[in-house]
């Protein structure tokens, strides 16, 4: 009884737990780092001057492949965190351009540092960074699959994205075969399983019971307890990064925003911001505010639905049904605002493609207020149910250390006490003018992720109501200020319902896409799910999985 009362109290306290510095204790607050400090640290560690380009908030540093681990160490020593690692084939713009990899790190309070290492197209290889930055493990496997770039010393080089070799296309993102390219030997995928007396294997998927996306899970269990979980994903891999190559920025938008049908505002915003950076364009005030309003509507309908799905994870249909009802009301508001239940087709480079419906904006605040009221009432009843909360407390625990080591983002990170939120850390659009409280929770279990979502839904609802009342008038879109110079690249992020989503973009000729890489919040958080499961009961896996509510489509692309 005490646990659920405490939980109820914490919900009612509302913003009491939410603060800008949340769970980030003073002892672990890293010093703020600027461009000069980042470069000084790099030069010190590498022992020579480095060539840096870019702006104050984004520095590109050329390093050699062999220097990459030391350069990463220099950055992590400053408290920088892994953002993404990607491969690229630069021979599309310059036949002698070769291949390259880039490790992107975010320095605390300072610039993004992009460590670019050129690789030989003869046999592209670099020392693996996974030992230093465990969060890079999947990124390196991906660039191995897509480009044949070998991260030497990687502990697990099983196929990730491309399950079976594609005939005639061993590495689909290469512009031309590598000089050394032999037909890729078939690498059979072997699940990592535990052996021993009383240990049994439980294969689940890729096609699951229920209306969910495909993924294969291999549990090693002793009795009811999970000893180890190995996940094989990428069943919904659609090859988006190859599909957008050579398309105009406008054409690529429709594909990028459908990386995930329920994070379309997030992906379209990150993409549009990247295009705007490459073309020196600034969206007009109305669009900058409307993007935030749409992003918060997206977070709101996702969070409300996801709270309901956590109830489904324990078979508590009262919550599933009531919150599903509220989610449907939100989808209908979306349709009134934009003509699309999932807000697709609105955000575009330079602003918005369509304006919000005037009458719907006028009615929005009171409609959202009504839903906010009902969601509060439902959540209050849920947290007072002992049988419900009993399943959530202590289940699927992710410690702050694990979350940090694996590079967790979004709700998964904040529920483990890491106060990380791109809306506050690197505000764009109208977020710079809004006070967004970062909601954190210390316990890292399913209950913590439930509470963080519940409180964030209320924060989103408050932002929507505020912005709906003071949406600036004026144009919704401006044309690009200039054509993006071929070969220039940048990255932009957006805090979506599933955490920080980062998009890396390089311009080709005539304002077309040369290379695009999307590292979604779900991609970053999947390894965290696998780490949260061992020690829990097999039947708790669906609940743990739903508490993260990651999107396979965002991950698989």
């Amino acid at each position: 009884m005490t646990t659920s009362r405490r939980a109820a109290a914490s919900l009612e306290a509302g913003a009491g737990r939410a603060s800008r510095d949340g769970g980030r204790g003073a002892h672990e607050q890293p010093a703020v780092c600027d461009r000069a400090a980042a470069l000084a640290s790099l030069e010190d560690r590498l022992g020579h001057a480095v060539e840096a380009s870019g702006s104050d908030d984004e520095v590109v540093v050329a390093v050699s492949g062999a220097e990459l681990p030391r350069a990463v160490e220099a950055m992590t020593a400053l408290g920088a965190t892994h953002v993404m690692f990607l491969g690229m084939d630069l021979r599309g713009l310059d036949p002698d351009g070769g291949l390259a990899v880039e490790e992107v790190l975010a320095t605390p309070g300072g610039p993004l540092v992009r460590l670019r290492a050129p690789l030989s197209p003869e046999r592209p290889s670099h020392p693996s960074l996974t030992g230093l930055v465990p969060a890079a493990a999947w990124d390196e496997r991906e660039s191995h699959d897509l480009f044949g770039i070998e991260p030497s010393g990687h502990p697990d080089l099983r196929p990730l994205v491309i399950h079976e070799p594609i005939e005639g296309l061993p590495h689909p993102l290469l512009r031309a075969p590598l000089a050394s390219c032999e037909p890729r030997p078939p690498r059979p995928f072997r699940a990592f399983v535990a052996h021993g007396e009383g240990v049994y294997e439980l294969p689940v998927g890729p096609i699951h019971a229920g209306i969910i996306e495909p993924g294969h899970f291999r549990f090693s269990a002793v009795g009811e307890s999970v000893l180890h979980l190995d996940a094989r994903l990428f069943y919904t891999h659609r090859g988006i990064e190859k599909l957008v190559e050579g398309r105009t920025f406008e054409q690529a938008l429709a594909i990028v925003e459908r990386a995930c049908g329920v994070c379309t505002v997030t992906h379209a915003t990150a993409y549009s911001r990247a295009v705007e950076r490459l073309t020196g364009t600034e969206a007009p005030p109305r669009a900058r505010a409307a993007r935030v309003l749409l992003a918060e509507m997206e977070r709101l309908y996702n969070h409300v639905g996801d709270l309901g799905n956590i109830c489904a994870g324990v078979g508590f249909h009262f919550g599933t049904s009531r919150l599903g009802w509220q989610k449907e009301r939100l989808l209908r508001l979306n349709e009134g605002l934009t003509g699309h239940r999932y807000l697709t087709g609105m955000v575009a480079p330079g602003g918005l493609r369509l304006d919000l419906d005037g009458a719907a904006v006028t009615a929005l605040a009171s409609a959202v207020d009504g839903i906010d009221h009902d969601v509060r009432a439902i959540v209050r009843r849920l947290v007072r149910s002992d049988s419900f909360m009993g399943r959530l407390h202590g289940t699927g625990v992710v410690t702050a250390a694990t979350a940090r080591r694996l590079g967790a983002v979004g709700v998964a990170a904040r529920a483990s006490g890491l106060a990380t939120d791109l809306r506050v850390d690197r505000p764009t659009d109208a977020y710079a003018e809004i006070d967004v409280p970062v909601v954190t929770h210390a316990t890292g279990d399913v209950a913590a992720r439930f509470h963080v979502r519940a409180q964030e839904a209320l924060v989103s609802s408050a932002i929507v109501r505020e912005l709906a009342g003071r949406l600036p008038d004026g144009p919704i879109r401006v044309p690009p200020a200039r054509v993006a110079e071929p070969g220039t690249s940048t990255l932009a992020g957006a805090e979506g319902p599933r955490g920080a989503s980062w998009l890396w973009l390089m311009a080709g000729r005539d304002g077309r896409v040369e290379r695009l890489h999307l590292r979604s919040g779900s991609f970053a958080d999947w390894p965290v799910v696998a780490a949260a499961v061992p020690g829990n009961l097999v039947p708790d896996f669906p609940l743990i999985n739903k508490s993260f509510e990651l999107c396979y489509a965002c991950t698989d692309r």
């Binding site: 594609i166 495909p214 090859g239 599909l243 459908r258 009802w325 999932y342």
Partner: protein, 163 residues
């Protein structure tokens, strides 16, 4: 809760209920299969079970095993990585079985048309009975598509008797 009426009252609901009743004897069992969608269609299928649409009142249930399913509701382009599992799902279904391709991707590949990672729609892998367009199709359109598919059962049965 101010909305009052919870259930949508489009006549297609009633037509579907009576069609299921007549052709299948009370219920239609559906197996959902995500073959590489963006998750949009899949959330609209999930919305069929919310209190607004509540398709269980029409005799529709979503089942865990394809062996219990009359109808396969497929979303997505049919990716390389999933094609084998999708084929085996279809093969596990008892006759007569129906396949509905849901959404632009399942119909033609949609915006992902031409990718190395899959095919341009489900029909290259499975025999499709009904196409439901949309990106994603609204829940009402999915209900209408299922209605059309159930209507095909008569044709299917007549065909079997003729052979």
């Amino acid at each position: 809760m101010s909305d009052g009426a919870v259930r949508a009252s489009v006549p297609v609901d009633e037509r579907l209920r009576s069609s299921i009743m007549r052709r299948l004897g009370r219920s239609l069992h559906v197996r959902h299969l995500d073959a590489g969608s963006c998750n949009g269609c899949d959330w609209e299928i999930a919305a069929l079970l919310d209190p607004y649409h509540d398709v269980q009142r029409l005799g529709i249930d979503f089942v865990a095993s394809p062996r219990h399913a009359d109808l396969l509701l497929v979303t997505g382009i049919m990716t390389r990585n999933l094609a084998d599992a999708a084929r085996r799902t279809y093969e596990a279904m008892p006759e007569p079985r129906l396949v509905v391709a849901l959404g632009a991707c399942a119909i033609s590949g949609g915006v992902f048309r031409g990718t190395y990672a899959g095919s341009d729609g489900v029909a290259e892998t499975l025999p499709v009975d009904v196409l439901v367009p949309g990106c994603p199709p609204r829940p009402e359109a999915i209900i209408e598509g299922i209605l059309v598919a159930v209507g095909r059962l008569d044709v299917r049965r007549a065909g079997r008797q003729a052979t």
